[in-house]
Symmetry: C2
Subunit: 220 residues, 2 copies
């Protein structure tokens, strides 16, 4: 097994991004030592652009000078490179289901959230449906079973970002009454040691999203 | 090794879908015997909805009664279940790059194509950029090297569907002059035995896309 000490692992990211936090959590779960290189949102460094010329965005993981982009691709790479505390199941069918639900969160959930500004009602309906699918799918402590897996990590946005955003915009969608299993999961997940250590502060996220909402809401 | 004969593999699909054809090609490359269950586009069977209640779409692969949805998830499942003729590289970094480019095709390329109706010029520019990235990335006979890999399979839309669609709409974007490496690849790929056997006929696709364009173009 490769010694972790000999390796150079860098994560290029910005603090308020749930996509970056996915990678933070996975590396932390694996016990991989890495350096967080903070980028400036909206003004990425030349190094970042060199590492991710196609999408020009974070997160980028650089392992021994080799860059990898896209959070879900990075999560699979981390699981294949550092075998301890697996985040994907070993059985091919269970792996397929885990990948399916990770994709679901990115495709259905985040697209509904992004649509919120454009078509409020439609996006809330879509989010409600998405929440219900996840509520039905959750049958253990975590989506990964007794331990955190790739679906939990992908869903960090739902556990931590969404409650903050819904508070700012005054929405009562993700509540204990409506989605009790998922709500309990969000508590367990955000209180897990490896996760808690890597979440940005609530204050940081409140400030970030309040500022963004204002620029969108106030007419020029 | 599990005997292929004892297994039941069914693929639920529709003929004109490049997402379904991805799965057809992968199964054919692996030499897996399967039954193609043809669905009616726009009026899916109850069985299909039962197998894919979340997205209600094809392709769905059913392996010994266990359903798997989403073409890229299915491709990974196929590669993990039937080891012969691997479509993903064995090295984790090369696997990450293959997944990155597969995602690129779905995210950047197909979204640009879908945007075509709404913003013609912008989508053509985006497609041109996407073509150029792929042209630069192609350094062997196939994206997978000397053999077909997951990126080639994901890109079947570009090799076979795109030339037909651009002919119908009178576009000259994907040509030998502009993208010589990618153009040669499209010939080699579509002439590969395992691919050729699974492509829908040109006539079928012409009829399908002509009909769709007419309903969109002719005002009611």
């Amino acid at each position: 097994m490769t010694s972790i000490q000999e390796e150079e692992v860098k994560l290029f990211g910005v603090v308020p991004s749930p996509f970056v936090t996915r990678v933070d959590i996975a590396l932390n779960l694996k016990g991989v030592q890495y350096k967080f290189v903070e980028e400036n949102l909206g003004n990425f460094s030349d190094t970042l652009i060199k590492y991710n010329p196609v999408h020009k965005k974070v997160p980028v993981l650089v392992h021994n000078e080799k860059p990898i982009s896209e959070s879900c691709v990075i999560l699979e790479y981390i699981d294949e490179t550092w075998k301890q505390n697996p985040i994907l199941p070993s059985d091919p069918y269970q792996r397929a289901l885990a990948r399916f639900w990770s994709n679901f969160i990115d495709d259905k959930f985040l697209s509904a959230v992004r649509k919120w500004k454009v078509n409020n009602e439609e996006s809330i309906e879509e989010m409600e449906v998405a929440f219900q699918f996840l509520e039905n799918e959750l049958n253990d402590k975590f989506f990964g079973g007794e331990e955190i897996g790739i679906v939990d990590i992908t869903a960090v946005f739902i556990a931590y970002w969404f409650p903050i955003i819904q508070e700012i915009i005054g929405l009562k969608l993700f509540t204990n009454e409506k989605f009790p299993k998922l709500y309990k999961w969000s508590q367990d997940f955000t209180n897990h040691q490896a996760v808690k250590e890597k979440l940005p502060s609530r204050e940081t996220l409140f400030a970030y999203f309040r500022a963004r909402l204002e620029t969108l809401v106030v007419p020029k």
